[in-house]
Amino acid sequence: MGKANGTLHNRTSKVVLVHHEDKTVISIMSDYQGDLAQFAMVVPVPVVLQRGQIHIGDAAVIRHLEDYSAPRLVEYDDPNPCQMYYPRAMTGPAAGALTAQNAAKATDSARALGVKIEAQYTVGEYDIVILSALQSDGLQTWLTENGYRIPPGAGAALAPYIRDGMKFFVARVNLKEQAKTGLDYLRPIQFAFESPKFMLPIRLGMVNAAGPQDLVIYLLTENGRVETTDYRTIEMPTGTDVPQFVRDDFAKTYQAIFDRQVKLNQMRGVFTEYVWNMNWCDPCAAPPLSHDELRELGVFWLDNRNSPISGGPQPMYRRQMFIAAPAGVILTRLHVRYSAATFPEDLSFQETGDSNNFQVRYVLHRPWEGSPQLCPAAASYFRELDGRRATEARNLADLTGWELADISRRMGISSVTPPSPWWQNLWH
């Protein structure tokens, strides 16, 4: 998907992609904060969309999806060594998101430019046109003449889509309609279509970007995890013990962990942050989405199914080992940082047969607050605790690339040294 120029640059965009048997429903969530009159969105689509194929979504549902699948911290209390523990889940960061678009007003003088207005609708607060074009220059001129502010390099990025027979979904804000909503943000645009292409166009998004951009994609499928077929899909590191102070600023810590993974993989991969059957979660950062919420996002295959999340009972929200029921809906959360250099092509996906769950979680251990004198086991507990803290410090340094000395200082422990080089004691 692509967004036209604006004063703010896109940092993280959010897209929900529901895919089942060649049918796709896409929801695009914009956290656009600027002048609404300047907002514009250009998305290549494989077919001309009818009015009924376009819908305005509910931002709260996407936020719910985001909270549900967010990387998280799990905290365990150390048990009394002289004598069990329970986990507590905490919600991680909602990956910060900003998008920037703009545009202007409409008139059409299309024919001469080889641009055809296939359809025109006002849906919710958006004025939408579906365009087909013969050549990119014409399309770019048309967009510019009609007040959509398109960055200079857009023509070259639009051309391959035109050749490929794609249509363009172009949206901007209808200020009157927007005022009626009484909301101070833009609601997500959704559209549904049928096509064998299971992909997400990202090339337009690179046109106006000053640097790499972040995109979080939520994919809802019936049977298995989704991965990219034209780039590597890499699991984020998970399950590591980290120091307690991480709790104070997990959002920043996770950002550092993600930055480091991107760097280690030369910005050539797509990262898996979450894969889970929507029937349950363990632990849950937020309750799973209800049947109605899933429908709102476009999950259309639950209706005729005798699944626990279809119809009557709502999904389970408690610790639960397994529910032997038809899978129903699998959520895959992918996070990608892309630039034109390392991502020359759009993202293509496949639904795999993999039904294993995956989540990004880091573990905190809250030390037992007793006295070493209480029993012999307590004394050895405190000796082991020092070693464990040093390990936690090194883990965090590995994950984030932060300096060990800084981490030790924040932990309030004596400086942890990096493991000594293998040759240090060789001749001494």
Partner: protein, 336 residues
């Protein structure tokens, strides 16, 4: 194998002692094994060590069983190992039993699907397609290698060495050229950046396919014209399936669909059958002949008597090490 072939092999070894290792499949085993280790270690494939073990066990057991049933003297364990490696590299599953089943189907396909005295399908290719179609919880990840140029270069170099030792590299090179040509044409037609071409052609999966699967001399046409027709067919099919029908794993599908046509190419362009050098491991059903087995008649064999420099030249010219089992039939040696 006929006594003639056996005689010529031992004669060869005596005269050209530097011909070690005699069987390019050993090198292929080492390279594929390294790639698997690299993938599982560095690229973190979704692969359970138990799945790898079961794949190998199953392939070897079924190979031993089919060789015994056919009354062959030796068990073709090298072929089974290569097939097992291919399946472990390509196939992913969330169960333990999918891999051994796929490996068993792959090895069994060599006895079940035959035409003109040789097996139709590349065993790994058959095993993977069988699993994708028939087993639940199974997938293949074409993006698992990414497009790192270093890795791509390494696979291409190792692959080239092996295909030029194993047979003519014409199938691999022909395939890469045809597929690359079609991709380039599409990139130009769509007005995409050339980076798209590089991204596609540097894909680890594409290069592994080109140098370790389609290059299998046992399931390629015998004559070089047949091989070129075969690799062009596979490239065209893979391109159309991938770019037009958005089929995932289009390369493996294309090879599977085009495999039966190999019998047609062999009928149109007859030539002597390829033989690996090791003795008694043939899984062909007694079709090979070596009419009067005189080593001196074999042009490829004569080339080996030439000084090493000449051999290097042959490899550089893409003529490889292929030699005819039937020296009298036109086209058995590599095209020059």
């Amino acid at each position: 194998m006929t006594p003639g072939a056996a005689r010529s092999t031992s004669y060869r070894r005596k005269l050209w002692p530097l011909q070690v290792p005699g069987d390019p499949r050993l090198a292929q085993l080492v390279v594929l094994g390294t790639i698997l280790a690299l993938g599982a270690g560095l690229y973190d494939f979704a692969l359970d060590p138990r799945q790898i073990l079961l794949t190998f066990a199953s392939a070897l057991i079924v190979q031993a069983a089919t060789d015994r049933l056919a009354g062959r003297e030796h068990i073709n364990y090298k072929s089974a190992l290569i097939t097992a490696l291919g399946i472990a590299l390509l196939l992913r599953a969330d169960t333990l039993w999918a891999h051994p089943l796929a490996a068993a189907a792959a090895i069994a396909s060599k006895s079940l699907f035959r035409a003109r005295g040789k097996h139709l399908f590349n065993p790994s290719c058959f095993g993977v397609i069988f699993a994708l179609v028939a087993l639940p919880g199974v997938w293949a990840s074409p993006g698992q290698w990414g497009d790192g140029p270093l890795l791509a270069g390494w696979i291409a170099v190792a692959g080239t060495i092996i295909v030029s030792r194993a047979s003519c590299s014409d199938t691999s090179v022909g395939f890469v050229l045809c597929y690359g040509g079609a991709t380039l044409a599409r990139v130009l037609w769509l007005g995409q950046r050339l980076a798209v071409l590089i991204h596609r052609m540097a894909s680890g999966s594409l290069l592994l396919f080109a140098f370790f699967m389609i290059s299998d001399p046992r399931t390629s046409p015998d004559d070089w014209r047949g091989r070129l027709a075969h690799c062009a067919t596979v490239a065209a099919l893979a391109f159309v399936l991938g770019s037009h029908f958005y089929v995932t794993n289009s390369l493996v599908w294309a090879l599977f669909i085009a495999a039966p046509a190999v019998a047609v190419w062999d009928a149109i362009f007859p030539a002597p059958r390829f033989q690996w050098e090791a003795k008694g491991e043939s899984d062909d059903l007694g079709i090979e002949t070596y009419p009067d087995g005189g080593a001196g008649d074999d042009p490829a064999w004569r080339a080996r008597l030439a000084p090493p420099g000449a051999r290097v030249l042959r490899i550089l010219r893409g003529q490889g090490e292929r030699h005819a089992a039937q020296p009298h039939v036109e086209g058995g040696a590599c095209p020059s």
